[in-house]
């Protein structure tokens, strides 16, 4: 859901950006590391702790074998990502290690993790080993040690502090009259309780499509905002379908999807329209910033 947090967490521990990691939503598990590990937790603040000591987010840390990580109160955001050097090594299905809950495939047995599950971690790569090498083996009385590999608070804030989510006009935006489009952009929606990885239902003002005609099913994208006949918009997310038949009024830009991923039921959300060019510039900027950050982190290693 929050690919930005996943990418950064992986980079912090020296993995490829798309190595498999754990996503935990609203509440976190208790995880025991059976072998020594280099980990990082990014995204929402679910109060991670090791032996009752708060563990910082957005920072790589080395944990000893036998260490347990727990989570507590949700302080901000909605979901956190735990990356481990070496990546989570569940068997890929259809080319991916992700879990697809709806079809019950992928990840760990196609389902959410339960107490007692054991999850295999791969061997740390070169970069990961160098990061671990920079931290003393003996972590003293603590079972973990912080590395200097981290994102500063103002940097993470700069990624997440945008209040209004940017969208481009949807393929069917012309099926909505001016009043409906104005209503959409003026509204502050509330993310309803019946929201999940497939999509968020947006409660509040109802939005009316001009042409109530049935549409032939057509492709949609992550971030597409569909408006069914009932008028309650649906913002499609990671587990979305590939196609749909409800008119799409707008698409959240790729560079802002992480903002949506860190909203939870009860949170508010508003949208503003930008051009395709703006959206591509934003994505390119985001990519450059991540590259630059990673470069700085790697330079510090040398």
């Amino acid at each position: 859901m929050d690919r930005l947090a996943l990418r950064i967490a992986n980079r912090l521990v020296g993995n490829d950006e798309d190595a498999a990691a754990l996503e935990t939503t609203l509440k976190g598990p208790k995880v025991e590391f059976e072998t020594e590990a280099l980990i990082a937790i990014c995204g929402g603040d679910l109060s991670p702790k090791i032996a009752d000591v708060s563990v910082p987010l957005w920072r790589a840390l080395r944990v000893q074998a036998g260490t347990s990580l727990t989570f507590g109160t949700l302080r901000s955001g909605a979901r956190a990502y735990l990356a481990v050097a070496g990546g989570i090594q569940v068997p890929p299905i259809l080319g991916s290690r992700s879990t697809y809950l709806r079809a019950r495939i992928g990840g760990h047995e196609g389902r959410a993790l339960r107490a007692g599950d054991e999850v295999p971690i791969g061997a740390p790569g070169d970069v990961s080993r160098r990061i671990m090498g920079a931290v003393p083996d003996d972590t003293g009385p603590m079972s973990f040690a912080l590395t200097s590999r981290r994102l500063r608070a103002e940097v993470t804030r700069s990624f997440y502090d945008r209040a209004v989510v940017r969208v481009i006009a949807g393929n069917e935006s012309k099926l909505f009259d001016e009043a409906a489009r104005a209503a959409f952009f003026e509204s502050t929606f509330e993310i309803s309780a019946s929201s999940d990885r497939m999509g968020y239902r947006l409660g509040g003002r109802k939005i009316e499509a001009d042409a109530r005609g049935e549409m032939l099913s057509r492709p949609v994208v992550t971030g597409s905002i569909q408006v069914p006949g009932g008028g309650e918009p649906i913002l499609l997310m990671a587990d979305r379908q590939t196609t749909g038949g409800y008119p799409v009024i707008a698409d959240v830009i790729s560079a802002d999807l992480h903002l949506v991923a860190q909203r939870k039921p009860g949170d508010k959300i508003r949208f503003e329209k930008v051009t395709i060019e703006d959206s591509q510039d934003a994505l390119r900027d985001l990519g450059s910033r991540i590259e630059q950050l990673t470069q700085e982190l790697d330079d510090d290693l040398d």
């Binding site: 299905i93 259809l94 709806r102 079809a103 019950r104 495939i105 019946s194 497939m198 049935e214 549409m215 032939l216 099913s217 057509r218 492709p219 994208v221 069914p228 006949g229 009932g230 309650e232 379908q241 590939t242 196609t243 749909g244 038949g245 409800y246 790729s254 395709i276 060019e277 591509q280 994505l283 390119r284 990519g287």
Partner: protein, 214 residues
């Protein structure tokens, strides 16, 4: 890109042709091609190419599109137990069409359907050629969960849900056949260009076949 105004065979041929040209032409930045009934989406990586230049290259690739040769269609029979708990909206469809439920079933089973696209969910077939007589609008509010194997109608389209998902279609029956098996290659039972025939079965046969398919 929109390649037609309807869900006819001509449109399907253009869609399949476009897919073929895009997948072989492989313009720089292309990630995936997803087909709708009359629309094709080309997913691309904007870090490799801008929207404008990618759109231009796609247009020029498709400019001289000729219909690609289509392989012979397969005929696949899909057994369906209609109505009651397995088809809770059969009466809604019947009422909308001013027909008896039995007549709706007869019409639904009465012709072969062309698989236009697989989408919405893994293995989900979009079928063309349904009689307008039983066309029924989608529900105003989608159901939050629809059982796997459900057979439905939405507007002029009919289809089968291969996995449990939310959806807004009117449900008229259920099939014990499994349309999506990730261990199979390809994982989808149906392919664009296939012909599908629905065959009505009774509840007992549905139970028996269901056990056989698992």
């Amino acid at each position: 890109m929109t390649l037609g105004e309807d869900a006819g065979e001509g449109t399907l041929a253009r869609v399949r042709s476009a897919i073929e040209l895009l997948e072989t032409g492989a313009p720089l930045g292309i990630v995936e091609v997803v087909a709708g009934f009359a629309t094709v989406a080309v997913h691309y990586d904007p870090r490799l190419v801008t929207y404008r230049s990618f759109a231009a290259e796609v247009s020029s690739l498709l400019a001289d599109a000729a219909t690609a040769p289509t392989p012979k269609p397969r005929l696949i029979e899909i057994p369906v137990c209609y109505g009651d708990d397995l088809g809770p909206d059969l009466d809604v469809v019947a009422e909308h069409a001013d027909l008896e439920p039995e007549e709706v079933i007869e019409i639904h089973c009465g012709r072969n359907y062309l698989v236009h696209m697989i989408g919405f969910a893994p293995g989900f077939p979009y079928l063309g050629g349904m009689s307008e007589r039983i066309a029924t609008p989608r529900r105003d509010s989608p159901r939050k969960t629809i059982p796997a194997g459900s057979v439905g109608i939405a507007g002029s389209q009919t289809g089968v849900y291969p996995i449990e998902t939310p959806g807004g279609w009117q449900l008229i029956g259920r099939t014990p056949a499994r349309l999506f098996r990730p261990d199979r290659d390809p994982p989808s039972l149906l392919r664009p260009g296939d012909l599908v025939k629905f065959v009505a079965i009774e509840a007992e046969e549905y139970e028996v076949r269901g056990k056989g398919e698992s």
